[in-house]
Symmetry: C5
Subunit: 358 residues, 5 copies
């Protein structure tokens, strides 16, 4: 995962010095042409279509059905501006929509609620977490969702709308917005599961054979969680902001669901914190296993050196060439030397056993 | 203990993408067939029976006695749904009941209060903590408790009801709910005691002989407490939520007991925090004892090497084969060498004594 | 100190499963027979006696003088129950009184205030902190104090009452309760002073000669403070609860004294936190001094080995038995070898000087 | 970067003991002569000029256009005093303006709002962060900005005023003040980007080759962030103070922009905290890589010593000069010795392979 | 600095068991005889004198001018008691005044405000921080200041009063009290500067040559900051208590100055926290530099041993005395040995170069 990109929003720099409310697309252009889809429904009717021009959606504004306009691709600022004008969205909100480095937040703008958050997905082939900003503008009878590229976690919701499953068709735009955010929060659970598996693997490896690669992986994992935390933590405030129910756009019947969503978010944040604790524990374990290794190495060295250095000294003594060394001529000197060596060796062995080095 | 399962609720993934309020059983099926028992009582009367079909319990709903329906086994969603319909329980609550990865929480749903928390038990044979989710739905004159499997910590309460001991028969459903939660919180004390014993054992071992196994145990213990904390910490909020007395289902006479329960919870949490501190102290002690060991090993090596390497050098000198080495021919060379060796050895000994290495 | 007992209230387990309000004595029986003393006074009169049966005290209840009943020894549940009945004390309070593992707390029960806290004393001979639970029931004109055994820190107060010193005789039961708590808080200062002395001693030793024993002592001290903190920290809340002045039993004239008491408690807690910081600094110092020692040991080894290993090699060269080694026959070979050895030694010495190893 | 200057405001010492409200310039004199520029505008008119004497600006005070007076250079206390007198600014505010060691803060003085904060810039050539204090006095129709020297981040705003771009010309003095603060907060993003690059470089180096220089850089970087945090953290409070909208000088239309600015500030603070976490992770990585290195060094030593010390002992044995050493005369002794050496070597090799040292 | 005295207020023990409000002097007697000075002033008049007996001051009480009575030396409890009686000061306040181990605090007693805080000064000759308790009793038209000994930081204020500089003569007793506290807070800046210099010195030394002395100094410095923090941190609450303006003794015109003072206090606390961070960073740096040193030592040892041990083995081989060693008789054996030695040496050198050990 490219953590470098995540920590700091480089692209923010693009609109330094611009007047606030200036639309500047700060992400990578991830799709060629924005794709716009509309789903318009109430309990009885359902209409779903892909449109070429954003103006085709505007006719839905004044009828009482719930309209969900989804835009994949943010670089065409023209679309955003037209929506802004037609739906009367504040320029600062539009600026936030196309600036893909927003911190998750919720803004009650009176006529509509603005919500921006991060959709995370785990790129199996790349082994990286893919981050995509999703912004929602929620009005009385419409939800406009902005995504950076095609592909999202909303398909189950689309299915539920199409098949009139659950209560989504019976409820309003606020419930739809809830369902979308809920789908994103649910997807965090999958991400966390991936991390959980990675952590388990690392733990097993760490116990078996602590190498520098594992240290590097732990370090990287720790940084991933710094990033993950940054992306998810603000959700808590965001959802509790919605749940506090101060906007008349959020109906009372939806509040209960928002409370449930809030609980889920807490659960995700809780898991992140627990993982952080575990990772920091792994770091300590790695360090102590390094010390252990060193101890083991030192013991081998010390045992060998402690046994053989004195013996070599003894051998050295009788390798001296003095003319007057009576022992040299003795008949039993050589066997005695071997006996001395044997005794020394055995007593060393006992010494090390007692010190629990062997 | 299988910490891996605990930290992250894998089974949550089962209902990703489902509309909220969909009943999906996310735990392991721990019993073959759910067991349903009913205890119905007031101060004068008592009726206790096991029923086959949940419908048999419904007759108790409309009479003024307190009814405690206990269901062991959550996988039969049919039962949950029928209860939900008959007792008018919100679908989100039903979803939480059968999702065994809930964070402990309390929800005041108006007509009833929903409480979910964790019942922990220490599996003696497995050496693992067994975790079971217990959910309570508390109404004006009924308590419905959902457990994952048979076997619980509620037997003393059943006895008290049967024998009309204490005040339980004189008080309402809210007091029964309190008594059930109190029994669970009390059981945490036993769990903590087990951990306390384990920690004491580890401490003693650590002082005697710090091995890698102990480090691994400390590490595991630390992770256990991360998990324990996650399971118990939210109780604080849960019980203070009940105690705040905003629900009219909680009578004033019960508030005092809830305050007492709150104190117990604080005591449990306090103990967990204290244990965490102690465990983290053990980790430090382990690391410093590793360093100590290393020091000891190094000292032995250094003493041996420092004494014998110079001596071996001296012996090496007189092992040289130069033709003109006058000392070789001297009469007292060899004894003098031994004297030098002796002096060197003694001065080294004094040196090490002074450095407090011996 | 037996930290094992302190951290976790084992005896709590005794009343697991009992209905709340059941009196179960959970401490050790520290006295043979409870000792009951009564002091009854107002500004003019004073009566002090030891009674055999608790009923003898009850006559004081209905007269306007302040009555202080002190009970040393909790195991006679009969006494507690009679008091409870006569003074109309809630069963949960009675349960807390005889359960000696309470967390310090204050409970305003309407007709009386219940306060429980820990009296600590330093057992000179045992080197252990002795912990005793003290509970106070404070009514309009009486204070009943429960202690685990004889001997307390209240003698100066008794003296002040007897000699009509200070204002205690002029004020009511609430002031007496304040005075008792104040005496206990004051005694914490002595405990802290003991610890302060121990820490100073350890610091001095640590600087002189860091041994494993010191590490063990630091570790033990750290755990002591975990325990101390747990015992004293809740006092803050307790006293601020009293001071908030919501109970009509606490007169306005006493509030000022409670505020003063609160300041003292903060001072104690402050000191505990400061000591904790210092102890954790000592731990770091110990670790770094271990590293230092290792460095020193390694330097000695390296100096010796680095000087003598090359020299031994040179000696080894001329110990070889090749037939054609012209140097062996040279006249000045041997002196030259000594010169080489000398030069090598001196340059090594300079090398080590420069590296600041010597 | 000269961290030493930053942490502690030495120059504060200059006005120790002076009566509060005494103007004492505490910074370095960074410009020769203060430069005063005025921009006066409303939606229709624009006037921009540089003035010699501050009095020339005063005529703008009583006309309804927005006047922005910018003063580069604080050492001429005369100017500050005159402005203070004419615009009725509190002496304590004036004192804060010329004291360049202020903590960022906002003060609502009734007739005007006083804001002081830090403008940071990265000196490419010096590799140091340059810090400059900017103070704003915001009135109903004027903004007076005080800077330590020429050169700032306000040029884009000047351009927008000149070219009537964005909404700045349509709005009041409060919006201008917002725009100025926004420009400064935006500039923090550039600073953070610089640090981000530096951190990435260090990370790469750290993985490749952990040297003492890198440790020193990490240490320096950590101190930079201590300083950065100190400079930026108070902004949070500052802006939320403005946004709370209690001053009637801040119009409702500006509040939304201030909320946006607040979000930006949170984002900056968030990034700082994330970087701090990453830097502290780098420190740990450095330490563990040191241990790794040591392990590697020790392994080499141990392998060599363990192989050759026993062999040298064997050679030493047969270098002894005893007269009765039967092996010396044997025909195959020498080849057998080599075989023993070979076997020892190979078994050592296998031993080390198994221990994963090779 | 004698940290031992600071952390724990030993002298507090002196009044254990005394009734509250008992005057007991707990400090060292730092002056022979208390010195009492009075300054009485309003905008027009000024009277300053030193008095022998405290009663001489009492005449000022009932005239409308502001009276500042300063008492240097606390051991004469008679003076304190007389003041207490005449100015109607609560006994608990008097107790706090003479007990020199107070935690800084502010107490609104209705008729007067009581403030106690610490005046710190750096004893150049002793290298120790000198701590002195200053207590202020602030009434409608008087300020009584109590100090432990002569010499304070108030001379600039005396000058300002004498010379009618600044606004002190125009304002009331509350402003005087503010000015006194302000002078003390200002003096903290000088203390911090001293520490700043010490830290800079230590940092430089640490980079150059990390010795045990530096570790000891860092450790001591850390403990100094624990103490400093304890002395200054409560000021925050103290001043914000005054500033909240609930006492009618503090006039509205003074509030602005108190807010300014509050900012200064925050700045001091901020600096303390930043220094603490820096010191803890130094500790880490010291530890990592120890590891570095060890690495360096080990490398030298390993290089020497790895080169010479194998060579010595080769020499040992040909020092053996076997009769049948054909190489011994070969003509070119000896030069070949030298070539082998040369090659081994060079390849080792390359090996170490590659490992970056050289």
């Amino acid at each position: 995962m490219n953590k470098k990109l995540h920590i700091f929003p480089k692209k923010k720099l693009a609109n330094l010095g611009q007047p606030p409310g200036t639309l500047i697309f700060t992400g990578e252009k991830k799709v060629e042409k924005p794709k716009i889809t509309v789903i318009d429904y109430n309990e009885k009717k359902l209409q779903e279509k892909e449109v070429k021009r954003i103006e085709e959606c505007f006719s839905f504004k004044d009828i009482s059905t719930v309209t969900w306009i989804n835009i994949d691709g943010l670089h065409d600022l023209d679309i955003t501006e037209k929506i802004g004008k037609y739906y009367n969205i504040h320029p600062l909100v539009l600026e936030d929509i196309v600036n893909t480095t927003q911190r998750p937040k919720m803004e009650d703008m009176g006529g509509h609620i603005f919500v921006t958050l991060k959709m995370l997905s785990y790129g199996e082939e790349s082994g990286k977490i893919d981050i995509e900003q999703v912004s929602l503008v929620v009005g009385a009878n419409f939800v406009i969702s902005f995504q950076e590229k095609e592909g999202d976690v909303f398909n189950p919701i689309r299915e539920r709308i199409r098949k009139n499953k659950g209560r989504v068709r019976k409820m309003g735009a606020d419930y739809l917005a809830y369902a979308l955010i809920d789908a994103i929060v649910d997807s965090y659970f999958s991400i966390l599961e991936k991390f959980g598996e990675e952590i388990e693997l690392l733990e097993d490896e760490l116990m078996k054979n602590p190498t520098t690669e594992i240290a590097t992986k732990i370090y990287a994992l720790k940084n991933e969680f710094i990033f993950l935390r940054r992306s998810i933590w603000p959700l808590r405030e965001l959802i509790s902001g919605l749940e506090r129910g101060e906007s008349k756009l959020v109906k009372k019947s939806t509040l209960l669901f928002l409370r449930d969503l809030y609980d889920h978010t807490i659960q995700v944040i809780d898991s992140i914190e627990a993982y952080r604790d575990i990772i920091s524990g792994m770091k300590d374990t790695y360090l102590s296993s390094l010390s252990n290794r060193m101890n083991e190495v030192m013991k081998v060295l010390t045992i060998i050196a402690t046994i053989f250095i004195p013996l070599t000294f003894i051998a050295g003594i009788y390798g001296m060439n003095f003319q007057f060394m009576p022992e040299l001529a003795w008949r039993w000197s050589y066997p005695i030397i071997w006996i001395i060596i044997g005794i020394t060796g055995i007593s060393m062995f006992i010494f090390f056993k007692r010190k629990r080095w062997l």
